[in-house]
């Protein structure tokens, strides 16, 4: 019954299309106290009943085939965990600790088998990469599994000690964990919604930026990976690239759309945008890492860039990546009608790369230009 209650308290991680439930510690406790068959029946029946209830309630992304798949996964994970638990029981001679150790062995095995099967199914259905799933699940899973272990141990101790009436109390930490995961999901969503909202503001001020930032973001992430930056950093470069022109909100659109070369005064006005971008993003703590990247994305290795005339070694590699990709997109307009800059005709892909190479070492970082040229050569973006 408590397992069923825990099954009905899922957390939806909407952006990752994942639903997390909290039955495992109770199933592990059952396995240790009642035996593998009891655990298997409990797990399979709770998964099935809750799944069918969600279908009846028309909860999003719950379809009968997934209910069957979830039940199937639960049965297999339960069977493997029972086998391992039985092996542990056979090998351990310490009297009095059999139940807690059994619960622990069951829980860990179940967690691993369940993870492998779910990741495989996810890979089949959505094509999400195994590595990405492992990273997401590790972050979410390690803390949860540690709590599950404590709860499963407590459940087995209560059952073995004849204090079954204490078992419902273990729903309190499970409820707290659920609340914590829900908050973390909200924070995750909020981060991306902030980026979306800022992008919307920029697009309202300068409609031509629509499309430009997305293309720059895709290339920037690819170049970052090719240059050996970690996945996390490459993802941050992508997000910084989406926001790199956010400071243009503070720029007069009539000046940006001039069909001629800008005067010195107009140029000075446009050149405020990296500083304004950094000012806009500075209040958001999650953006702190990318604020300097955005401030310096118009700096040049030869020290003649703006706003701070930094020299080569002082410019972050992330800014150099954004600078190259931004310039390429500005030169090509990516072949999209109406996306070309108004003061000059769009270049072809080859011409733009040649131009980047010509400016490598002075306006752009040579290593970044080489990586970018390689990305463009094999790109379908």
């Amino acid at each position: 019954m408590i397992a069923l209650i825990a099954e009905f308290l899922p957390v939806e991680l909407s952006r990752r299309s994942v639903r997390i439930t909290f039955t495992l510690p109770y199933v592990a406790g059952m396995a240790a106290a009642v035996g593998p068959l009891g655990a298997l029946l409990t797990d399979a029946s709770t998964t099935l009943v809750a799944g069918l209830a969600y279908v009846a309630m028309k909860r999003q992304r719950t379809i009968p085939i997934w209910v069957a798949a979830n039940t199937f996964v639960a049965v297999i994970a339960c069977a493997f965990a029972s086998l391992v638990m039985t092996g542990v029981l056979r090998g351990v001679s310490l009297d009095g600790y059999r139940e807690p150790l059994s619960a622990l062995a069951f829980l860990i095995t179940y967690g691993i088998v369940n993870f492998i099967l779910v990741t495989y199914l996810d890979n089949l259905s959505s094509g999400r990469r195994f590595y990405d799933n492992v990273m997401h699940s590790l972050r979410l899973g390690v803390a949860s599994l540690a709590l599950y272990a404590i709860v499963a141990l407590a459940v087995s101790v209560f059952v073995e000690g004849g204090m079954v009436w204490m078992v419902p109390l273990t729903l309190v930490p499970i409820w707290a964990l659920r609340t914590g995961l829900a908050y973390q999901a909200q924070m995750y969503d909020h981060y991306y919604e902030t980026i979306t909202a800022l992008t919307l503001m920029l697009q309202r001020a300068h409609p031509y930026t629509h499309g430009h930032t997305e293309r720059v973001a895709e290339f920037a992430e690819e170049v970052a990976r090719r240059l050996g930056l970690s996945r996390r950093r490459a993802r941050l470069v992508r997000e910084a690239a989406v926001l790199h022109d956010i400071g243009k909100i503070a720029v007069d659109e009539q000046i940006l759309d001039q069909p001629r070369k800008l005067t010195d005064q107009e140029l000075a006005h446009v050149r405020r945008h990296p500083v304004c971008g950094a000012q806009i993003l500075a209040p958001v703590k999650q953006f702190h890492e990318m604020v300097p990247w955005i401030r310096y994305h118009h700096e040049r290795p030869d020290g003649t860039g703006y706003p701070d005339q930094l020299t080569d070694v002082e410019i972050p590699i992330e800014s150099k990546i954004i600078a190259v990709v931004d310039a390429y997109d500005a030169m090509t307009g990516s072949g999209v009608p109406g996306q070309q800059r108004s003061y000059r005709a769009a270049m072809s892909q080859e011409e733009a790369v040649t131009e980047l190479r010509r400016c490598a070492g002075t306006q752009f970082d040579a290593r970044v230009v080489a990586a970018f040229a390689a990305v463009v050569a094999g790109s379908t973006i």
Binding site: V157, V172, H190, E253, V284
Partner: protein, 224 residues
Amino acid sequence: MDWVKWAVVASAGVTTVWLVYYTHYYLPRMLDERFRDSITAFSTAVELRFPTHVGLTKRVQALAFAVGQHLKLLPRQMRDLEMAARLRDVGLCAIPYGLVNGRTVPDWNDAEQQTYDQHAKVSGAMLEMVPTLRHLAPIVRNHHAPYNDGTTDSATGQNLPIESLILKVVSEYVWMERWQGPLLTRQTINDGRGTIFAPEVVDALWNVLPSSRVADSRQNVHSA
């Protein structure tokens, strides 16, 4: 039970207490802080585009909060009011740069005034696209809607959210005060009491204004 089992139960208890604290005290505060940070970023963007708006949001937010308290709004309404006060002008980024910078309100013709007035609608439309802020969209969309006749939502004043009615009075008071001074602004607001502006909000504003002025002057003394 032997000591090992007691240790298991005790560690479960300690973990539970810590987890409850973390998830019901620490995380909500962190999320709230992140909301405020993001909203500050949006306001900064608007103020950088239109420097004449620097300080407006802070003043509107403070006055709206005081009026909301005077009208005994619920905590949830107060939170929405505070957020909407800071987000109400995000749509200004769609207003032409040259319309506000280097020109004053009296210079505008009717078409330009209408263009400027679109910002409430644009702000509302933008918030609609952000799920965690969507609930503020009706408040923001109607924050310049007149009290007693057609509005952007074709609702009558009485059907508008109280938060919108408060923002209407407060934001227009703060805006007009800049151009025509407090005395003429008070008269203009009083002239529109019951027609353009919700009467109970106007009364509340006159009640809280002296104390807010005292607070302002105190703040100025401190900052000086």
